[in-house]
């Protein structure tokens, strides 16, 4: 106790300040120590340093994400600052992990590049490219869309949210056009395989199946403490997918931590996670100017090819059309054939019309115009044609003229020319006018074969006849009467039948003398003898205008007689 205080104590005169040290000295000392700790940075740092690890653990346990959220900006700034100020230090720190990371990224990039190159090769003017075009035409989707569909770097086709412990599906989303099997069974089987793999290889508990590849599909599994996200990816998935899975899984754990911990089968509680899972349904497509140019080149090439083919096809088709027109024109010119309709039926040309059975067969005209019988369908209804060539053909078919008879149609008249037997002529007379298109039969120049024979026989008989005379006499001896009768009969027959065989007959009577007389006498006598025979024939009814006489005179001296020469000439050429 100080002297001043002792003095005051003797006077019983204490102040509060005098008493405070006596009463609260220990507390004041502690307060001072605390003040020292709080106000002296070094001491404060030492105090916090002692409890910081424990505080972080407690905070993590009790306040969940708050500590992490609070620390994150500071740490990020620190890291950024450290890297900026001392890159070597950072490089040293990440060196052990950067090698594998680079290798992994390079491998993924290479795989993607190989796949893209493969796609390019497959796309340019290949059968596949054509197939895509056909697919585009068939589905009505733009070609570009089809190409894009086939040129995905990757596409997430399924995302499963699994309850880690039971393997049950809490949520599942799938791409629209992807068929999905029972997600519960698929995910349970994945969980079983995961368990199996861990058991079989005694993997540590925290690990697990993280990636599997089946054909073009890759399964990526992101494990969390209570749940796992599984993405089924077509193509070469980049790190983006894994990153999005990790972020989504963290978010789900933050929002549904207690629901996951206390999960007893109530899957409806996880219905809202659908949106988050949809966020993982990523896809990456190829975008390359080069390939678009190739696409255009391919299009141009196809267009050129199509144009060429169309040109060649057009030329062939035009030539074929011209041949068809030529064929139709030929049919039109053909007597007895009438074309009524032409066109195409079932891709095949057809020609319809009317055809006389006696006309030329339309099928026979196909080959000269370069068509096969199968190229054009011909349908011709049979008709009687009244065209002159057909009428003539029909007349010939019906009348069957014998050789030497020709038929010719002029107007409605059928002119028959030549020699035929009477029976045929009679039949022709009967039938000709019954034929369509024939009004009359002109038979002016149609002669009977029988009449001709009769004429020729009579002419031969007459020319074989010799009428004898007595020496110096100009009159036939009475003994010659029978011969004169026969000659007269033959002459009559001749003159009657000759016109019927189209001939004009002239009978020349020639007188002959023996060599005894003088030439003048012989001339006179020979003429007299011929005239007397003519007179005898005249007496027997032979018209004198058909007879002519001539004396042979000195020219042919021999027997005393008269002979006959028959001159036949076609009617109209004069006698």
């Amino acid at each position: 106790m100080s002297a001043r205080v002792r003095a005051r104590a003797q006077r019983h005169d204490y102040t509060l300040d005098d008493l405070r040290p006596l009463l609260v000295q220990p507390e004041q000392d502690r307060l001072k120590t605390l003040e020292h700790k709080l106000e002296t940075p070094e001491a404060l740092a030492e105090a916090i340093g002692e409890v910081l690890p424990q505080a972080a653990i407690v905070s993590q346990q009790r306040r969940g994400e708050e500590l992490r959220s609070a620390m994150q900006p500071v740490m990020l700034t620190n890291i950024r600052e450290t890297v900026r100020k001392n890159p070597e230090l950072f490089a040293e720190a990440i060196f052990p992990s950067i090698g594998p990371a680079v290798r992994k990224a390079t491998r993924a990039a290479l795989e993607a590049m190989i796949q893209r190159m493969d796609d390019i090769i497959q796309r340019t003017m290949t059968v596949q490219s054509l197939r895509w075009r056909i697919q585009a035409a068939r589905t009505g989707r733009p070609f570009v869309e089809i190409v894009m569909l086939h040129n995905l770097v990757y596409r997430v086709e399924h995302v499963f949210l699994l309850h880690r412990e039971s393997g049950l599906v809490l949520q599942h989303v799938a791409a629209e056009d992807v068929a999905s099997e029972d997600p519960d069974q698929v995910s349970a089987m994945l969980a079983a395989i995961d368990d199996f793999a861990r058991d079989a290889f005694r993997a540590e508990k925290e690990g697990g199946l993280s990636r599997f590849c089946v054909g073009g599909l890759t399964g990526i599994i992101e494990h969390g403490p209570r749940a796992a996200l599984v993405a089924i990816v077509r193509g070469v998935a980049t790190k983006d997918v894994e990153l999005s899975l990790a972020e989504t899984l963290e978010q789900i754990h933050r929002q549904y931590g207690s629901a996951l911990t206390q999960f007893r089968g109530e899957v409806t509680a996880f219905e809202p996670t659908r949106e988050a899972l949809l966020g993982c349904m990523r896809e990456k497509r190829l975008r390359r100017a080069k390939s678009r140019r190739r696409g255009i080149l391919a299009l141009v090439a196809i267009a050129a090819l199509v144009t060429t083919i169309a040109g060649i096809g057009g030329t062939i088709l035009y030539a074929r059309h011209q041949r068809f027109v030529g064929y139709l024109e030929a049919l039109g010119e053909e007597p007895g054939v009438t074309v009524t309709r032409t066109g195409r039926r079932g891709g095949r040309r057809f020609v319809e019309g009317l055809g006389d059975p006696l006309a030329r067969d339309p099928a026979a005209l196909l080959a000269p115009h370069g068509f096969r019988a199968s190229d054009i369908e011909l349908r011709f209804e049979p008709v009687y044609s009244l065209e002159p060539p057909l009428i003539e053909r029909r007349a010939r078919q019906v009348l069957r003229p014998p050789p030497g008879v020709s038929l010719l149609l002029a107007g409605g008249t059928l002119r028959a020319t030549g020699v035929a037997e009477r029976a045929w002529i009679d039949r022709a007379r009967l039938l000709a006018t019954t034929l369509p298109g024939i009004d009359a039969l002109d038979e002016a120049r149609l002669f009977e074969a029988e009449a001709l024979a009769s004429t020729q026989a009579a002419a031969a008989a007459l020319e074989g006849t010799r009428v004898a005379f007595a020496p110096g006499s100009s009159r036939p001896s009475p003994a010659e009467r029978a011969r004169l009768d026969a000659a007269a009969r033959a002459a009559t027959t001749l003159l009657a039948s000759a016109p019927r065989s189209g001939l004009a007959a002239r009978i020349e009577i020639i007188g002959h003398v023996d060599p005894t007389g003088t030439p003048a006498q012989n001339e006179q006598l020979s003429e007299a003898r011929a005239a007397s025979v003519a007179a005898e024939l005249g007496k027997r009814g032979v018209p004198a205008e058909h007879l002519s006489v001539r004396g042979a005179g000195q020219a042919n001296l021999g027997a005393r007689r008269a002979t006959f020469a028959v001159h036949l000439a076609p009617v109209g050429e004069g006698s």
Binding site: H163, R164, E165, S166, G167, L168, V169, E181, D182, D184, Q185, V186, A188, M189, A191, A192, I193, D195, F196, R198, D199, R264, G265, E266, V267, T268
Partner: protein
């Protein structure tokens, strides 16, 4: 009807008791039986109607237990219940079922379960005496089933579904 809950359920039993045959007609499976011999389980699913709701059961049909192979107990993890199957004509299979039950209890705790005595169509050949059956019935939700006729199977699943829903 909406799917209210979804549960993992395990099918346990000795080899040859007819687990797979039993459920074949009542479940939907997209996987081949071969998985049972390769990874030791096969997954099936079964929807059980409970009142206005449907409980989806994802069945882990575990390969049978015998002297050559053990049930892979890690597959029990996360199961909400289980179905023990035994063969009435072989008393030993009931004992195997009980042993599996003990193992399951160790992993899952006291969860809903039913005991199924299969091969009811061969009841005349059963090795279980009446007293033993009574004892089982007193301790278990017990069903007698026949894979051959399908009798009792649906009932066993429905009972398990109800028990899971009421937990």
């Amino acid at each position: 009807m909406t799917v209210l809950e979804k549960h993992k359920v395990c099918l346990l039993g000795a080899t040859g008791v007819g687990k797979t045959s039993l459920v074949m007609r009542f479940v939907r499976s997209i996987f081949s039986d071969a998985y049972q011999t390769t990874i030791g389980t096969k997954i099936e699913s079964k929807h059980v109607v409970c009142g206005d709701h449907v409980v989806a059961l994802v069945l882990w049909d575990l390969s049978g237990e015998d002297e050559f192979q053990r049930v892979r107990l890690s597959y029990l993890r996360g199961a909400a219940g289980y179905l023990l199957v035994a063969d009435g004509t072989r008393r030993a299979t009931v004992e195997t079922a009980m042993a599996l039950h003990d193992a399951a209890m160790g992993i899952l705790g006291d969860v809903p379960r039913v005991l199924v005595l299969n091969k009811a169509d061969l009841r005349a050949f059963w090795e279980l005496d009446a007293a033993y059956e009574r004892e089982l019935a007193s301790r278990w939700t017990l069903f007698e089933t026949s894979a051959k006729t399908g009798a009792g199977v649906e009932e066993a699943f429905v009972a398990l579904g109800h028990a899971l829903l009421q937990r």
